[in-house]
């Protein structure tokens, strides 16, 4: 027995963590500077597993950092710069107080500045690491670039953000990387695929800011400082990957091409390389090839189309989106610089406007609402323009970020788009339109059309069934022996039957445990289907109700 009594909190968790205030004192920084340093270096607070052990027996809620993190921060050269800046502020204040104006200018000329390049290199050792974190940077950049010069943040920061975001948009345009767009009530969500990374960002609508008071602007500005530096380097790398000069010039209008020589179509249609990999089916390969082709087609969605953007439409977003898919865009000269052609241009194919009707219309172009562009992009095909004419009630703008699994409820609008994608509904629409014109002059929604289409399908099926039944009945009643026919062996059907049989057998051979699990899964699936059916029924009822309402209203009028 014996030995020195062990002290409490001398080892273990208590020594691995450090409270924020102690860390701050260790680094000899003010709280604001400490917070800034942590954000720049990517050191974040931790929640310990056993708070009481770490907090020396107290259960008071505190912010903890890992001791190792703080020790790492001690080596940061920027800490010295922060201290220098503190002294600079003190000197400046003193000079102002004494009204030594020459001293003030001298101090201001020698204001200590720091660079974040080394931190970027340290935090993102490779380019792909940086690209993975660009979501945040982009969202922040786009947000700050829409700020007014209200003094909430430095004007230079706003300008830098604007420059970097415009550069980014131009890169996306040139590389045709945009995949999805979603207009939400909050802002516009974009998704692009850059060098194999899926990048999502949020852009606020223009002029939509009320500055919330419960947001720490200093923290946001610090994040932005870091992210602008990061984005600059990323942009540089991306531009050089396309063999473009960085920094580019005169971009803000989003109308001019970055590359002097536009790559020709033949060049783009380079064959995909085939690498025979063992254990990979030909089917998979084909599927991949097909996907690749689809992507290529999507990239050239608007190629050859000429758009004109009216002044009431969000110009920047539309110009960006349209040019991402190869369209030509222009706008009124008085709206923004960079207008390529005038309204009077006869070759314009689509005129995007957002007003009930326009007085002067050209006969050789479509006048459509802006949603057409976004919906077409999300559905990867040029949707029929008829649904989007001026003054027409628009079909709902569906979120492209929702991916329905099997058995989920799919809204009929989406079903229709899927059918269009498959190429099934190409001329069906025109027939429908004619029918409607004959039936009534009401402007029906496409929802109604959809419904009718469904109804018709059902009717057809019913007819077929009835015919079969009649035949059977007649056969029975007559009791005749008809001459035998050679049954055609439907191979596909046989195969299917075989497969079904195999499946049934497999189910039969299952162990009790597996069977239980299987039943559970199947039950879940059935439940899902049931719910989806319920929703569709509900939807139908809703549509019916709205339709009758409309008709009533129309009659009243």
């Amino acid at each position: 027995m014996g030995g020195v009594q062990k002290k409490k909190f001398d080892r273990g968790a208590a020594t691995n963590y450090i409270t924020r205030n102690r860390a701050r004192k260790k680094l000899q920084l003010s709280l604001a500077d400490f917070r800034r340093l942590c954000i720049l270096k990517g050191i974040y607070p931790h929640e310990p597993k056993h708070k009481k052990k770490v907090n020396r027996g107290s259960t008071a809620p505190r912010t903890f950092y890992l001791m190792k993190d703080i020790r790492f921060l001690l080596h940061e050269p920027i800490v010295g710069k922060f201290r220098e800046y503190k002294i600079f502020v003190r000197k400046l204040r003193k000079a102002y107080g004494k009204s030594e104006w020459s001293g003030v200018t001298r101090l201001k000329d020698n204001k200590p500045v720091y660079k974040l390049d080394h931190i970027i290199k340290e935090r993102y050792p490779t380019f792909i690491d940086a690209l993975r974190d660009v979501d945040d940077a982009l969202s922040m950049g786009f947000l700050f670039s829409t700020f007014a010069r209200t003094g909430k943040c430095h004007v230079q920061t706003i300008q830098l953000c604007r420059r970097l975001t415009v550069e980014w948009m131009n890169y996306v345009i040139t590389s045709r990387a945009l995949k999805k767009v979603f207009l939400s009530i909050k802002g516009i969500y974009y998704q692009a695929e850059v060098l194999g990374q899926t990048i999502t960002w949020l852009v606020p609508y223009q002029f939509s800011h009320d500055h919330p008071t419960d947001v720490d602007y200093r923290v946001m500005a610090t994040f932005t400082e870091m992210y602008t530096t990061l984005m600059g380097f990323i942009n540089f790398r991306l531009y050089s990957s396309l063999n473009l000069v960085y920094p580019p010039k005169k971009l803000s209008a989003l109308s001019s091409c970055l590359a002097r020589v536009v790559s020709s179509v033949e060049e783009d249609e380079a064959q995909m390389d085939h690498f025979p990999v063992e254990g990979e089916d030909v089917e998979q390969m084909e599927a991949r090839e097909k996907e690749h082709k689809e992507q290529e087609a999507q990239r050239r969605l608007f190629e050859g189309l000429k758009f004109f953007v009216n002044r009431e439409v969000p110009r920047e977003s539309l110009a960006f989106v349209l040019r991402c898919f190869g369209a030509q865009v222009s706008w009124d000269k008085s709206l923004c610089i960079g207008a390529a052609y005038d309204v009077t241009d006869e070759t314009i194919t689509h005129h995007i406007a957002d007003r009930p009707n326009m007085e002067k219309q050209y006969i050789n172009r479509y006048y459509i609402q802006p949603q057409w562009v976004y919906d077409s992009i999300n559905s990867k095909i040029c949707l029929p323009v008829e649904d989007y004419f001026l003054g027409v009630t628009l079909p709902p703008h569906l979120s492209p970020f929702v991916e329905e699994k099997e058995g989920d409820y799919v809204p009929p609008e989406k079903l229709r788009i899927m059918a269009l994608q498959r190429g099934e509904l190409t001329d069906f629409f025109s027939i429908l339109v004619q029918d409607e014109d004959e039936e009534d002059d009401e402007d029906d929604d496409d929802e109604d059309e959809e419904e009718e289409e469904e109804e018709e399908e059902e009717e057809e099926e019913e007819k077929e069934d009835e015919q079969n039944l009649k035949k059977m009945e007649t056969q029975r009643s007559q009791g005749k022996v008809t001459p035998g026919k050679v049954k055609k062996e439907d191979r596909g059907r046989l195969e299917q039957e075989e497969k079904a049989e195999e499946k049934r057998l497999a189910i039969m051979m299952m162990k009790k445990k597996e069977k239980y699990l299987y039943d559970k899964i199947m039950f879940g699936k059935k439940r899902k289907v049931r719910e989806a059916n319920k929703l569709t029924a509900k939807r139908k009822a809703h549509d019916d109700a709205s339709k009758t309402d409309k008709k009533k209203k129309a009659k009243k009028q």
Partner: protein, 502 residues
């Protein structure tokens, strides 16, 4: 030397100073020793150098000039020289000759004035005897002196009396302000110029005119270097790998080696995506059902909030049955005043009986019986244990089953725990005093939806969304806005003017 010293205003040096101790002479109290001072400072000259003798001399000259009247018309340069020489001799007594020149400048006006060939008054010593003395031969009106009376025409050209009065007729010229002719730091500048000339002769350009080199360091940090400068340029940061050529030992010892960043620091603190996409019901022109789903979600949040509020209200409320009635109030007031008498004797007797019972001793027989009982019980238990062990051999199957069950249970728990840990990565952690609170769901009611991009009124703030996202991903801890605390109380005083109105 002593005479140059300014007389100190010490009481002991004053005439008629009496000391208490008669053996000490008052003049001995003032030390005669010369004080050593720096003579290359103007201040010291003013303070320590006695120029009274020079002053006296000059005063004497002036007096003589005033009294002797008109001097001879010929400039007596010799006399002037002697004048200066006299000054020189004085000064040489105390200071070096070079310094004397400065003193000379004091009498410079004198020299200067002599150079002007004008009517002068002179010193008595310089005057000829004839001019000083004359023979008194009574008053002769007509004689040697013939005064030419100005004619009437010349009278007009005479200066006016007013001008004559205003004219400075002092013969002591106005002293020149030498400082006006002096250059500050003249010597230093002269030296610098000289040095520059020498360097130029060798072929060296002074630093001022040289373009800044790396060794000089940054001369001026301007806004161009700031990280948020909108025109700053970027480079390929990931392309170039600069190889460190310096000795690693040296770098480590001097603290110049970059500290390696562990892989753990680049791990994400949360698995929540940076940009969370709003539910499909948040579209500006949503599908009916998805919009309803979003509304339902928002509704649930509101219901939850209301429930919590109600809970607090309920907790604060009191039971109406507990309300004080007249009766209960009276009961409370009377409490303790009424005496309740209970039987004290009964209690006492019970106590004594209990003690007696405890004290009663066991007999020998009883003890023996107990001992036997005990041994019997022990034996019984031992045999039972033994049989139990033997029985277990036959229970092997059931034991196995129970073991398996236990294992199953632990496995389940493990997977559950692992799943919980995974789920925890998607949840905001508690990082400080405050818990994370999600922002309000962005929702537009059916009547707020316009269905057109032009008339859309954006909901919520992207800035707040970003800020909350940072908090949610554990990058920053949720904080309250710092409250403004007034250190000193504000004293409200009603102004008189204001009071008059009200």
């Amino acid at each position: 030397m002593a005479p140059n010293r300014r007389v100190k205003r010490v009481a002991a040096s004053q005439p008629g100073f009496m000391t208490l101790n008669t053996s000490i002479k008052p003049e001995n109290l003032v030390s005669n020793r010369r004080k050593r001072i720096n003579k290359n400072k103007k201040k010291n000259w003013n303070k320590h150098i006695d120029v009274n003798d020079v002053e006296d001399f000059l005063e004497d000259v002036r007096l003589q000039e005033r009294t002797t009247g008109v001097a001879s018309t010929t400039p007596n340069t010799r006399a002037i020289m002697s004048n200066t020489r006299a000054i020189m001799s004085y000064t040489r007594a105390t200071i070096s000759t070079t310094r004397a020149i400065t003193l000379c400048s004091l009498c410079w006006p004198l020299l200067d004035s002599t150079r002007n060939n004008q009517q002068r008054r002179g010193l008595i010593s310089d005057k000829s005897d004839e001019s000083l003395f004359f023979l008194d031969a009574g008053d002769k009106k007509a004689g040697t002196q013939t005064v030419v009376e100005p004619t009437g025409r010349r009278k007009a050209s005479r200066p006016l009396k007013v001008d004559l009065i205003l004219k400075n007729n002092s013969l002591v010229p106005v002293p020149k302000d030498i400082l006006a002719y002096q250059l500050p730091n003249a010597k230093k500048l002269r030296n610098v110029a000289k040095k520059a000339e020498q360097l130029a002769a060798i072929g060296k350009v002074p630093k001022k005119h040289r373009p800044p080199t790396k060794v000089d360091g940054p001369t001026k940090t301007t806004a161009a270097d700031a990280p948020n400068n909108p025109t700053r340029d970027f480079y390929d940061i990931w392309g170039q790998e600069t190889k460190e050529t310096r000795d690693p030992w040296y770098l480590r010892q001097t603290g110049k080696a970059p500290v390696k960043r562990g892989w753990k620091w680049n791990e994400k603190s949360s698995l929540i995506p940076a940009v969370e996409i709003i539910a499909p019901g948040g579209s500006y022109n949503p599908d009916f059902f998805s919009h309803q789903a979003l509304l339902l979600k928002a509704h649930e949040v509101e219901v939850k909030k209301e429930k919590e509020e109600n809970k607090i209200i309920k907790q604060l409320a009191y039971d109406k049955d507990d309300r004080a009635t007249e009766e209960s109030v009276f009961q409370e007031q009377v409490e303790g005043l009424e005496e309740e008498d209970y039987d004290a004797n009964d209690f006492n007797s019970a106590c004594t009986l209990g003690i007696l019972n405890l004290v009663e001793k066991k007999t020998e027989k009883q003890r023996k019986k107990e001992r036997v009982q005990k041994i019997k019980e022990q034996r019984r238990l031992a045999s039972r244990y033994k049989t139990g062990q033997q029985q277990q051999l036959f229970q092997l199957r059931s034991i196995k089953v129970s073991l398996r069950q236990r294992e199953q249970r632990t496995k389940e728990r493990q997977t559950q725990r692992r799943a919980n840990q995974e789920a925890e990565k998607y949840r905001p952690r508690r990082l400080g005093k405050l818990k994370f609170t999600a922002q309000d769901l962005e929702v537009q009611l059916t009547n707020e939806l316009t269905g057109s991009l032009r008339t859309l009124k954006p909901e919520g703030s992207v800035l707040k969304d970003r800020f909350k996202s940072l908090q949610k991903r554990n990058l920053i801890e949720p904080r309250e806005r710092a409250k403004f605390k007034r250190r000193l109380k504000i004293k409200y005083v009603e102004k008189r003017s204001f009071r008059e109105i009200t």
